[in-house]
């Protein structure tokens, strides 16, 4: 029945819809050609007849044979739907001048794949799927089914690589912009990954906080929910002004201001620590919140710097464009690497964690970490090319447009699924399990890392996948503020009504989303204990 549908769909498309449009150049509108309009060759008629065969195969009774027949036909439909129009298209292009009115500009003439190809691929896919379903029911092994299903896709990839399909307009675009595409694709990946990692750190922390503290619970969950409802364009716009301001300021004065803020926060924390026992309950809570906010300002400033600079570092390493940046990266690595190695050996994170819960520790951590990183960054930049006094924050990659607001906005958008899933995952753990862990002598940190995190892991990972996919989409919008990435092609395409360019940006983005989802799912499967895996 499914096969019947697929065959009918494909043959309907081949009969009524144009398979290709012939375009003299990128912008002019095309000349639609139907499959059966292509003159002089019976092969195209055969494709139409082939698409009709599943309609008859659907009534075969031997399930195994029917399965193999459908798989074969489905694969053939997919391959030929792409191959035959390309063949015809080449023939058309040779005599392209004759097809168009005199005076039409002919440059890079191309074949635009048209409706029938989409319908044909969908129909072929459905037939293939029906065949695989039959094979599964008649007991074929997973490997056999996988191979049978992949044949068509494999041949298409080979054709792509071999240049057989170069006649299609999207391939024409690809060939003229391949290098930029690779760079934009890379940018897109790095955007998503950096935002995802930053979101993960903040999101897990907030989720943990929400699950532990009934008072903060609603505030946190509502806030991340509201962030999600701000249109992405608006969020980019909102970030524009303060980040531009920040970018303009000089590094030295900025560092001075920052140190001042950090010092105030630290001082306030120390004072509070002294007074803590003497304050009445209400005042204690109020003071606690005040210190927290004081510490949050330098912390978020620092986070912006670190994330923006981190992005620059990653991208520089990946694309090795600028010598000066390379030097600062090397310097940063030289300074920070031994520090991390030393810290890694010196401190057991599980033992350290309880200290993080104490309020005075936060500003101190911010101060030390911030001073260290800014020092290294500044030194790296100076080694590169600039005078210290002329150094602005923009040199660190922070400005109103470009990567900094993009990364920040993306990070904010990733928070909702991450916070909500972390929260839900932690809340759903049976309290008896945590109690038994505590009763056996787990410290709070051990309990978190060895019990709660592993148990909440599948739920958190579902949030990560959710976030990753939506980030791939939102990252495309970021090119509006000059952040680059695959959105560049889409934006250009929209401006010049060039479907090929839009597809050139959109297809890799879709592929990226699919691959990331599959990869994360695989990771989830590998890292989830078999004891809690869904059966």
């Amino acid at each position: 029945m499914i096969a019947f549908l697929g065959g009918a769909l494909a043959s309907f498309g081949f009969f009524f819809l144009p398979v290709i449009e012939i375009k003299p150049n990128r912008l002019a509108s095309g000349l639609p050609v139907g499959l059966l309009e292509i003159p002089g060759d019976l092969r195209y008629l055969l494709l139409f007849l082939l698409a009709l065969t599943p309609v008859m195969l659907a009534f075969m009774s031997d399930r195994n044979r029917r399965g193999w027949a459908l798989v074969t036909v489905g694969n053939l439909i997919i391959i030929l739907t792409l191959y035959l129009p390309a063949l015809a298209g080449n023939a058309y292009l040779i005599g392209a001048e004759a097809l168009f009115e005199a005076g039409t500009r002919i440059s890079n003439p191309r074949i635009l794949s048209s409706a029938a190809i989409a319908v044909g691929l969908a129909g072929g896919g459905i037939v293939l799927f029906a065949g695989l379903l039959d094979l599964e029911r008649s007991g074929a092994s997973r490997l056999v089914r996988g191979l049978a299903g992949a044949v068509g896709a494999l041949v298409v990839v080979l054709m792509l690589a071999g240049g057989t399909l170069d006649v299609y307009s999207i391939m024409v675009e690809y060939h003229s912009r391949g290098e930029t595409l690779a760079l934009r694709f890379l940018e897109h990946i790095v955007f998503v990954l950096v935002a995802l990692v930053a979101g993960l750190i903040v999101g897990i922390a907030l989720g943990l906080w929400a699950s532990r503290d009934a008072k903060a619970e609603d505030a946190i969950l509502y806030t991340v929910g509201i962030i999600q409802t701000i249109p992405s364009l608006a969020l980019f716009g909102i970030l524009l002004v303060p980040l531009a301001r920040l970018g303009d300021s000089h590094f030295l004065s900025m560092a001075r201001d920052w140190l001042l803020l950090a010092a105030i926060a630290l001082a306030a924390a120390l004072v509070l620590r002294r007074l803590h026992a003497r304050l009445p309950e209400r005042a204690r809570q109020f003071a606690l919140i005040a210190v927290f906010i004081l510490a949050l300002i330098p912390l978020s400033l620092l986070a912006v710097l670190i994330i923006a600079f981190g992005f620059e570092v990653v991208l520089t390493v990946l694309t090795t464009a600028e010598l000066a940046s390379m030097r600062s990266v090397t310097f940063l690595a030289l300074v920070l690497f031994p520090v991390f190695v030393w810290a890694g050996k010196r401190f057991d994170l599980e033992r350290m964690l309880p200290h993080f819960q104490r309020v005075h520790f936060l500003p101190l951590l911010v101060a030390v970490l911030g001073a260290l990183i800014l020092l290294a960054q500044g030194a790296g930049k100076l080694l590169g090319n600039s005078e210290l006094a002329e150094l602005t924050i923009r040199d660190f990659g922070v400005s109103g447009i470009g990567t900094a607001p993009a990364i920040i906005a993306l990070t904010l958008y990733s928070l909702l699924p991450l916070v909500r899933n972390t929260y839900a995952g932690l809340k759903n753990i049976d309290p008896a399990i945590i109690d038994s862990g505590k009763g056996m002598g787990f410290t709070a940190a051990q309990s978190f890392f060895r019990i709660e995190l592993p148990l909440a892991f599948p739920v958190i990972m579902a949030g990560v996948r959710n976030a990753a996919i939506s980030l791939v989409g939102i990252a495309a919008v970021a090119s509006i503020i000059g952040a680059g990435a695959l959105g560049d092609f889409i934006l250009l395409g929209v401006n010049s009504t060039s479907i090929d360019q839009i597809l050139l940006g959109a297809v890799p983005a879709v592929l990226l989303a699919v691959i990331m989802d599959a990869g994360l799912k695989l990771l989830e499967g590998l890292l989830t204990s078999p004891g809690i895996r869904q059966a």
Binding site: D430, A432, S529, G531
Partner: protein
């Protein structure tokens, strides 16, 4: 040894969960905390390993106040088993049992040996179930693993909060019996919380009955049943406390040795004379050489004048109880036959004595006999 000294747990709203508790648990003893729900028994238990903080007073472990240790360090020295078991679902059975040894940084070889030993001890075959995950085990098996895990690092003290509460009654009885056998080997000092008086009587060396945070009575199971301090205790241990006491008394402790018996092949006259001497209405027939119980004869049959061979009924096992059975089992045999006396046999089937209704009645009414008998045997 665990001592509660004037321990009070008071919550900010003024509610006293535990009110002035004084209690001493001696080494190697099972102390059962029991009482109606909300009586503070679980709170008292959780204060020992500082899952709950004491408001006033102190808890001494081997003479040392328990708040002198870091809570985590303290807890690793004390076995902990709870009703919900709380096995970590993402770890294998072996890893679950190895939790505390790992926290204590034992080396892996030692841990592996210890884990397999413990799993064997609780009746879980490590080679079959060791690498499974908790959800693949039945409730009863999980409870066993829970006990093995509490014994993980061989702690001298154990806290057990209704550890057999989550399984059906039959499995629970088996687990209780097996645990007592394990306890004979390992001899831990145990605080055991339950709300089931039968479990308390069966498991406890001493029972502390709590009500509204206060200790009402702290006694051996036998004394608790025999000498309830007030109406609350009497009501709590139940109207059938006499029957419960019988559960505590073994046949060996309650039997009399002097029973009417004759060797196989005795004449009718000899049988009648034996019954007269004991003022009994039946006589037991034993093998002359081995002393094994073979059967019995009734007065009515003997006096009817039939041949000796027709007078004797040969069915020794259906009428006899074993020495290590409880007095309650003896009672049920007595009730199902018309004997004055039910014969008692040892593991080899040799007649060693008998138990009469009258004797059981005396035992139940006279307080402390069982305890005295136990002390004599040095238990």
């Amino acid at each position: 040894m665990i001592e509660f000294k004037d321990v009070i747990k008071e919550y900010p709203n003024g509610f006293r969960a535990v009110d002035n508790l004084n209690l001493t648990v001696h080494d190697g003893e099972i102390c059962v905390l029991i009482g109606p729900s909300g009586c503070g028994k679980t709170t008292a238990l959780r204060m020992v390993n500082r899952l709950i903080d004491v408001t006033r007073g102190e808890i001494l472990i081997d003479g040392q106040p328990n708040d002198e240790f870091e809570p985590e360090i303290l807890r690793r020295q004390i076995g902990y088993a709870i009703q919900q078991i709380g096995l970590l679902p993402h770890m294998t059975i072996r890893d679950n049992v190895a939790i505390v040894p790992r926290l204590l940084d034992w080396d892996e070889d030692r841990i592996r040996q210890r884990v397999d030993l413990l799993l064997d001890m609780v009746g879980i075959d490590p080679s079959i179930h060791g690498d499974k995950y908790p959800r693949q085990l039945s409730g009863g098996q999980q409870q066993r693993v829970g006990v093995a895990r509490a014994l993980g690092a061989d702690p001298p003290l154990m806290l057990m909060d209704e550890p057999f509460g989550a399984v059906d009654p039959i499995t629970r009885a088996i687990l209780q019996e097996e645990f007592l056998q394990i306890q004979q080997e390992v001899s831990k000092t145990i605080i055991f919380v339950t709300h089931d008086i039968d479990e308390a009587i069966y498991m406890g060396d001493r029972i502390a009955l709590l009500r509204a945070g206060r200790l009402v009575q702290y006694d051996s199971p036998d004394d608790l049943l025999a000498k309830p301090r007030d109406d609350f205790v009497r009501e709590f241990v139940g109207a059938d406390r006499s029957l419960k006491r019988l559960h505590l008394i073994s046949v060996k402790d309650s039997m009399i040795n002097n029973v009417p018996r004759c060797a196989q092949g005795a004449s009718l006259d000899e049988l009648a004379q034996c019954m007269d001497e004991h003022r009994a209405n039946n006589v037991f027939i034993i093998d002359e050489n081995s002393g094994k119980l073979l059967g019995w004869a009734e007065r009515s049959a003997v006096e009817s004048g039939a041949a000796p061979e027709e007078v004797i009924n040969y069915a020794p096992t259906s009428i006899a109880v074993a020495e290590d059975a409880t007095a309650r089992e003896a009672l049920s045999v007595l009730l199902s036959h018309s004997f004055d006396l039910t014969p008692v046999i040892d593991a080899n089937g040799i007649l060693t004595g008998g138990v009469s209704i009258q004797r059981l009645q005396d035992l139940v009414e006279a307080p402390g006999i069982h305890a005295a008998a136990q002390r004599e045997r040095g238990q």
